[in-house]
């Protein structure tokens, strides 16, 4: 029966990780061996993707690999190291030689969530990994079934109060579950969780009205939301982040809805082991941003509804730190609320 109540474990573990985190932050910033960047890269670059081939992160890594290769005069080989929900590949990336020839791709799940929820993830991303560059950013959106005739988050909360126990949330993967619990925590809304394997399955049931709502990535939602208010087969009511979406300009953001400390989104970024020399990190960051600006990459990103964000190393580092602390806080709060 303990599967029904994972939060107790989650809580204990996140406290432990929290302690480890504080101890480790003091040790960071050590970067020996700064001199060898002049000849970098001297051989092909291996990009470890901690998931099986075919997911969003994998696709972005392959697009990036193709685009950056001519700029650095070396091939980029993508190696899928799947296992333990991304933990195996991330650990292999951490253990790689810190010379920039092995990079590891990270996402919210492997960098900011697993360390606080997954026992196997016995690493600390803020200490073990150095963020290099952001490959892509995907906002999430809360959609509700059309037949509920709900247009805003406030209406959804109202509806939930009037019809106790009637709302369901089509969740998928650990992120979807955290998204739901977080929203409940911030708004007092209650939705029964219904599990799905993927966002496409989840949104299909929201379209059919079998589930009330779902928090999905915008690439999944766009084909069904319509181009204007009320024209889609589902109703988007909230961007689960602070930014407006150009594709759904009428949809409220968390800021507009008055939701604080609640950001659900997904991103893909390149990391290297922490001890990698700073000038190599700088070099990879510059070349990556250059590669992502090519027309071919832009077109393919547009197809996939992935946003580009041009971050230098410092901004990148701050972005990742914010992600880690945000998820950690949310996970801990969810853990202690239950």
């Amino acid at each position: 029966m303990d599967t029904l109540n994972p939060e107790t474990r989650l809580n204990r573990r996140s406290v432990l990780h929290g302690l480890a985190g504080t101890a480790a932050v003091a040790l960071s910033g050590v970067r020996p061996g700064e001199a060898l960047a002049a000849t970098f890269p001297s051989k092909r670059i291996t990009a470890i993707v901690p998931f099986g081939a075919g997911g969003g992160s994998d696709t972005q890594t392959r697009i990036w690999g193709e685009a950056i290769a001519p700029l650095i005069d070396q091939r980029v080989v993508v190696e899928n190291v799947a296992g333990s929900a991304g933990v195996a590949g991330t650990k292999r990336g951490i253990a790689a030689d810190p010379d920039g020839h092995t990079v590891v791709v990270g996402a919210a799940s492997t960098i900011a969530i697993n360390p606080f929820t997954n026992k196997a993830a016995d690493y600390n991303p803020s200490v073990d990994l150095q963020p290099v560059a952001l490959l892509g950013y995907t906002p999430y959106v809360l959609v509700v079934a059309n037949d509920l005739k709900i247009r805003t988050l406030a209406e959804l909360i109202e509806y939930g109060k009037e019809h106790d126990g009637k709302l369901t949330h089509a969740g998928w993967t650990a992120v979807g579950e955290l998204a739901r619990k977080g929203l409940e925590l911030r708004t007092g809304l209650k939705m029964r969780p219904v599990p799905y394997k993927g966002s496409m399955e989840a949104i299909t049931d929201v379209i059919a009205g079998r589930a009330s709502a779902s928090i999905v990535d915008i690439s999944t939602a766009i084909p069904f939301t319509g181009k204007t208010v009320g024209s889609g087969s589902v109703t988007p009511i909230l961007m689960t982040g602070p930014d407006k979406s150009s594709a759904l300009p009428w949809v409220q953001t968390t800021r507009e809805a008055g939701l604080k400390d609640y950001v659900i989104d997904s991103w893909t970024a390149v990391f290297v082991p922490r001890k990698t020399p700073a000038d190599i990190v700088e070099f990879l960051n510059t070349k990556t941003r250059q590669a992502l600006k090519t027309e071919n990459v832009k077109a393919r990103y547009a197809d996939l509804e992935i946003e580009q964000r041009d971050y230098d190393v410092d901004v990148m580092q701050a972005f990742i730190a914010r992600q880690i602390s945000g998820w950690k806080a949310l996970i801990e709060e969810i853990g202690s609320a239950d």
Binding site: G83, A85, P223
Partner: protein, 501 residues
């Protein structure tokens, strides 16, 4: 009707690019090759080649993988006829009369009629898919979790019934498969289940790995069991073109085979193999002189060959319209689609029409290629059979290991293939049919998901969950299927079918 032609036209415009035509040809040739070779089937090949398709367009990749699948049906029958060694299980019955014809010096005719029958059946199945796909996928969108659950129960019941050997053993295999599907992270909470504290089991069992072990490696171990027999190949193949008299005799068999195969292919389980057995039984039953069967009756080749080819194609229907892989091979094809960002399910047709129709029409083009290009190459394919086992088997094992390692870069996966190979060999010795295990593994996760989802949506009320008309109808059908297999007269028929194996 005009819609149908528009769609097929769209499909042709996709297939008829230089790259896709080439990929289709490569798929057909590779398929034929592995169909000819024992020990390596379409499943293992697709698993191995999947990583190679990352960099091509999704449509091209799927066209090639599909080509491997139906191409292997051709290859399998070639060796069944010429040397009495069915390369694939779906060609087992072809060997009965096909090889008898070869002994009478009519090998060419047998090969010819097999190819012509397959082509006609392939054309028919292509049309079946093209007409059924849209209504089915529309229907699938209204399927509830309960309906899916019941559909899978029905599929698994059929899988037990059509598996060889005892029902009880097949049922055991199925249950083991379903339990294996539960290993790994709990889909809702991420909590590890049945992993015995081991990280490597956190992601569960990979279908490709289990299948390659249970079928690929186990098949090789089995072949090592028996002393190597030199395949007997007659040099004189004779003319490939059947006479008018042959055609007259086969026309009915091809028609019936196409129909049967198309229907049986849609049903979960190994449709291609089952349909060839059923077709053979049927031809024998309708024949004016059943005593000719087993002594070179051309209908005994034409019928099953048409049936297995039609079934191999319609097997794609559940995957492409419902998102339900009905065999392990289809589970891998579904994996390959996911890999290219196309999620198998009712939305494939509306969201990726070029890919869907391209793949459907490529099947027809591929069948044409197999007849025109492949038939004259039969001599070359047969030469592959003369490669001694001691060279062939280590090579296949090596290819399997490299292929598996390249999927996840995990050494443990390679070890697992070996373990499952030994298990598969043991199962064979104990006369357990591993196919239901694999199907249980493929469908088990979805079975759990839908059961859980359906129960949550119905508020935990099992009556509401199972009481929906369609759900109830499908579950009743499942009960009837299992019940009838237990009835004495049908049980005897099953027995007979297996003895002919």
């Amino acid at each position: 009707m005009t819609d149908l032609f528009d769609h097929l036209l769209l499909g042709f415009s996709v297939v008829l690019s230089v790259q896709n035509i080439l990929l289709c040809l490569v798929g057909c040739l590779v398929g034929t090759l592995i169909g000819v070779l024992p020990g390596i089937g379409p499943l293992a090949t697709i698993a191995i080649l999947m990583p190679l398709t990352y960099n091509s367009e999704p449509a091209g990749a799927l066209i090639m993988l599909a080509g491997i699948y139906y191409g292997s049906q051709y290859g399998g029958s070639t060796t069944a006829i010429l040397v009495n060694m069915p390369g694939e299980s779906s060609s087992v019955v072809t060997a009965l009369d096909g090889h008898a014809m070869a002994r009478q010096g009519k090998a060419g005719k047998a090969l010819g009629i097999a190819a012509i029958g397959s082509f006609i059946a392939g054309t028919f199945a292509t049309l079946v898919i093209a007409t059924l796909a849209i209504p089915l996928s529309k229907m699938a969108l209204s399927f509830t979790a309960g309906d899916y659950f019941a559909l899978m129960v029905l599929g698994l019941s059929l899988a037990i019934v059509v598996a060889g050997g005892s029902l009880l053993k097949a049922f055991c295999m199925l249950i083991i498969g379903v339990i294996m599907a539960l290993v790994g992270a709990n889909p809702v909470t991420g909590e590890p289940r049945l992993t015995f504290g081991s990280d490597v089991l956190y992601d569960g069992f990979d279908v490709a790995i289990v299948a390659m072990g249970l079928f690929g490696i186990a098949e090789i171990l089995r072949n090592l069991d028996s002393p190597e027999g030199r395949p007997f190949v007659r040099d004189a193949v004779g003319g490939l073109l059947p006479t008018r008299e042959d055609m007259r005799k086969s026309a009915g068999a091809i028609t019936r085979g196409s129909l049967l195969g198309s229907v049986i292919g849609i049903i979960p389980g190994n449709g291609a193999t089952l349909s060839s057995f059923v077709s053979y039984a049927m031809e024998k039953w309708v024949a004016r002189r059943p005593e000719e069967f087993g002594r070179g009756a051309i209908q005994g080749v034409a019928g099953p060959e048409s049936a297995n080819n039609a079934a191999a194609q319609t097997t794609f229907i559940p995957l492409l319209t419902l998102g339900l892989p009905s065999t392990a091979t289809m589970a891998l094809v579904g994996g390959a689609m996911t890999l290219h960002g196309v999620i198998p399910g009712p939305r494939v047709i509306s969201q990726h029409p070029d890919l869907f129709w391209g793949m459907i029409t490529s099947m027809w083009i591929g069948n044409l290629m197999l007849v025109i290009i492949n038939l004259p190459l039969i001599g070359i394919w047969v030469k592959f059979l003369k490669v001694p086992y001691r060279h062939l088997f280590p090579m296949i094992v090596l290819i399997c290991c490299v292929g598996i390692y390249s999927i996840n870069s995990q050494p443990f996966d390679v070890l697992l293939v070996g373990i499952f190979g030994i298990i598969g060999y043991g199962l064979h010795k104990l006369r357990f049919e591993p196919a239901p295990l694999l199907l249980g593994l493929v469908l088990g996760g979805m079975l759990e998901d839908n059961l859980r989802r359906g129960l949550i949506l119905s508020g935990g009320d099992i009556g509401v969950f199972l009481g929906a008309p369609l759900t109830l109808a499908l579950l009743t059908a499942a009960v009837i299927v299992v019940g009838s297999a237990l009835s004495p007269s049908i049980a005897r028929k099953r027995q007979q079918l297996q003895e002919e194996d």
